[in-house]
């Protein structure tokens, strides 16, 4: 073969996913050991970054693998957090926090499912879908502001740390170490779940839709249903992440549903690499940590610095950091043996 072959970002998802597993094991192992070597603020803040990462993965599924960009992830996240806050006031036989987690998954999934069903069935695509999701964020923010009797309006809502209960045994998550070891396995679980989803028939069809929706449709797949399902899964995970975030931060306010936060999620995923779940997770952790650090050293200019980092990364690697790394492992030549 004399033809020159140009490697493109994410030229072979299979290759990227294979090498990703090894990196994921190392990263999660290191995270599991972290509270042993670090303490105090690090152990407090890393779970929050991981929840941002969970939110980023919910967008990566939709945007990186389904080709559907959403600026509405913050809406589901905030709804999850409010559900967690409201549930703490309920008097029920079972642990209200567990109920709140289930409700946040159901609300995020159902809202995304209903919105997605109508939009995708009507053939709404691309930038028009983005605009609707943007509106979803703005509406959620406005509703949380206006319904101040329930949500506390601008003042926000305080949420006590949840407890884990197993039958009669109970573990209070007020301390940061048990909280850390609750959120880390859940993050790993969501990562594994999404990897499984993407490897399934559904995931393969979803990637096909990203690449060429008309072709997939002409092969006999009802693509609006696949897109609806992807959006619903994404909304459910964003809702779960939000509920955990609410109880971890002990506070939720309307800005959590806002456009600014929604945009941040898109930036995390773009920098980390939208076609990689791990890249998106680490993009969120890395950028959130960097923002936090920059706020401390340069409170005036941190957003500017972050903006420059974003522009540079996207200019250098359109597929984000994970896309750039994955491009190195993609096969580029035909096999020499035939058949």
């Amino acid at each position: 073969m004399t033809r020159s072959i140009v490697a493109r970002p994410g030229a072979a998802n299979a290759g990227l996913l294979r090498s990703e597993t090894a990196v994921a094991v190392v990263v999660f192992f290191a995270l599991a050991l972290l509270p042993g070597v670090a303490s105090g603020y690090v152990v407090y803040i890393v779970p929050q970054y991981l929840l941002y990462g969970m939110l980023a993965m919910s967008l990566a599924l939709l945007w990186g693998f389904g080709g559907i960009l959403s600026f509405g992830q913050a809406a589901f996240f905030a709804l999850g957090a409010y559900a967690m806050g409201l549930a703490q006031h309920w008097d029920m036989a079972v642990n209200p926090a567990y109920v709140a987690l289930l409700i946040s998954i159901a609300v995020g999934g159902a809202l995304a499912g209903v919105v997605g069903y109508f939009l995708f069935s009507a053939g709404v695509r691309d930038v028009y879908f983005v605009l609707v999701t943007l509106a979803l964020s703005i509406m959620t923010e406005q509703i949380t502001i206006s319904q101040s009797d329930i949500t506390g309006g601008y003042n926000g809502m305080f949420i006590p740390r949840m407890s884990l209960t197993f039958g009669d045994a109970s573990l209070d998550l007020s301390d940061d170490v048990p909280m850390y070891y609750t959120i880390l396995p859940l993050t790993i679980g969501i990562y594994a779940l999404l990897r499984w989803v993407l490897a399934s028939r559904f995931g393969k069809v979803l990637i096909g839709i990203r690449e060429n929706e008309d072709r997939v449709l002409s092969l006999g797949f009802r693509t609006p249903l696949y897109k609806t399902a992807a959006f619903a899964i994404s909304g459910a995970i964003a809702g779960l992440a939000g509920a955990l975030y609410g109880t971890h931060a002990s506070f939720v306010s309307p800005s959590l549903a806002g456009v600014l936060f929604s945009t941040q999620v898109v930036v995390w995923v773009a920098i980390g690499g939208r076609e990689s779940l791990l890249g998106s997770l680490l993009g969120a952790v890395g950028v959130a940590a960097l923002s936090n650090y920059l706020t401390a050293i340069t409170p005036e200019y941190w957003q500017l610095v972050l903006g420059i980092v974003f522009v540079l990364v996207i200019m250098a690697f359109r597929g984000g950091v994970a896309g750039a790394l994955g491009g190195l492992t993609a096969p580029r030549r035909p096999e020499t043996e035939s058949g």
């Binding site: 033809r3 072959i5 493109r8 994410g10 030229a11 072979a12 998802n13 299979a14 028939r201 393969k204 069809v205 990637i207 096909g208 690449e211 060429n212 008309d214 072709r215 997939v216 449709l217 002409s218 092969l219 006999g220 797949f221 009802r222 993609a330 096969p331 580029r332 030549r333 035909p334 096999e335 020499t336 043996e337 035939s338 058949g339």
Partner: protein, 239 residues
């Protein structure tokens, strides 16, 4: 041979323009048919109505005797009507294997059946050496074959090919004719091909339907069509 596809009075109007005017057309199972005609004859409109991408203004379409006029693209694809677009429409960034696997997921089957099918399709289309490469590295002609391969992996029974040899080299065009002949003879597929390339149509040794101004001018063997005065005058622009 049993009748596979029939259109009765199939018509399509775009505002004032009549693209297809009461086309009666029959295709037998296992038959290869070329549809030719000058630009604007209504060829692409015709197969777009069969695939479901366009809705007829009048007339009916029957597939295996069943009226499919109102069925969606997806429903027709499920029944086995598969369309190859004029420009190659494949999944550029996915490997050839992934392209074919995705196509094979369209119908219920086991993983082993799909694997056998994919291997078979890679052999038929002579694309096996490239199976782990992204489709973007293929030549234009190879991409066209990959798309035909995807329709096979999708277990299509009726292939609608819109100018499959457009932009191909003479060698690729000849290979494509042989490929389509193999599909019909060895795999019992039925094929409707829109073409301009006379050498290709001759290689195919298939009956030809000539469309002109949205109507069927004639349907006959290649030789009969090539010698027909009316067809010649249409192609010379006097029709």
């Amino acid at each position: 041979m049993a009748e596979l596809l029939r259109t009765a009075g199939l018509s399509k109007r775009f505002r004032g323009l009549i693209a297809n005017d009461a086309i009666d057309f029959t295709l037998q199972s296992g038959e290869v048919r070329c549809v030719i005609g000058p630009n604007g004859a209504g060829k692409t409109t015709f197969i777009s109505m069969i695939s479901g991408h366009q809705t007829p203004s009048a007339g009916r379409i029957f597939f295996r005797g069943r009226d499919v006029t109102g069925s969606s693209v997806t429903a027709r694809a499920q029944m086995g009507i598969a369309r190859k677009f004029q420009t190659p429409s494949v999944f550029d960034r996915l490997s050839l294997h992934a392209n074919l696997e995705l196509a094979s997921l369209g119908k219920r089957s086991t993983a082993a059946e799909r694997q056998t099918r994919i291997t078979e399709v890679l052999d038929i289309t002579r694309l096996a050496p490239f199976r782990h490469l992204p489709a973007s590295v293929l030549s234009h002609g190879q991409r066209q074959w990959l798309e035909v391969g995807m329709l096979l992996a999708n277990r299509a029974e009726l292939l609608l090919l819109d100018e499959p040899t457009a932009g191909m080299t003479a060698e690729e065009t000849h290979a494509t004719a042989l490929l389509i002949r193999r599909l019909a003879d060895a795999h019992h597929l039925s094929v409707i091909i829109i073409e301009h390339d006379i050498a290709f149509i001759r290689d195919l040794k298939a009956p030809v339907t000539v469309l002109h101004l949205g109507r069927v001018l004639m349907s006959d063997s290649f030789d009969a069509v090539a010698e027909n005065e009316q067809v010649r005058s249409v192609y010379l622009g006097q029709g």
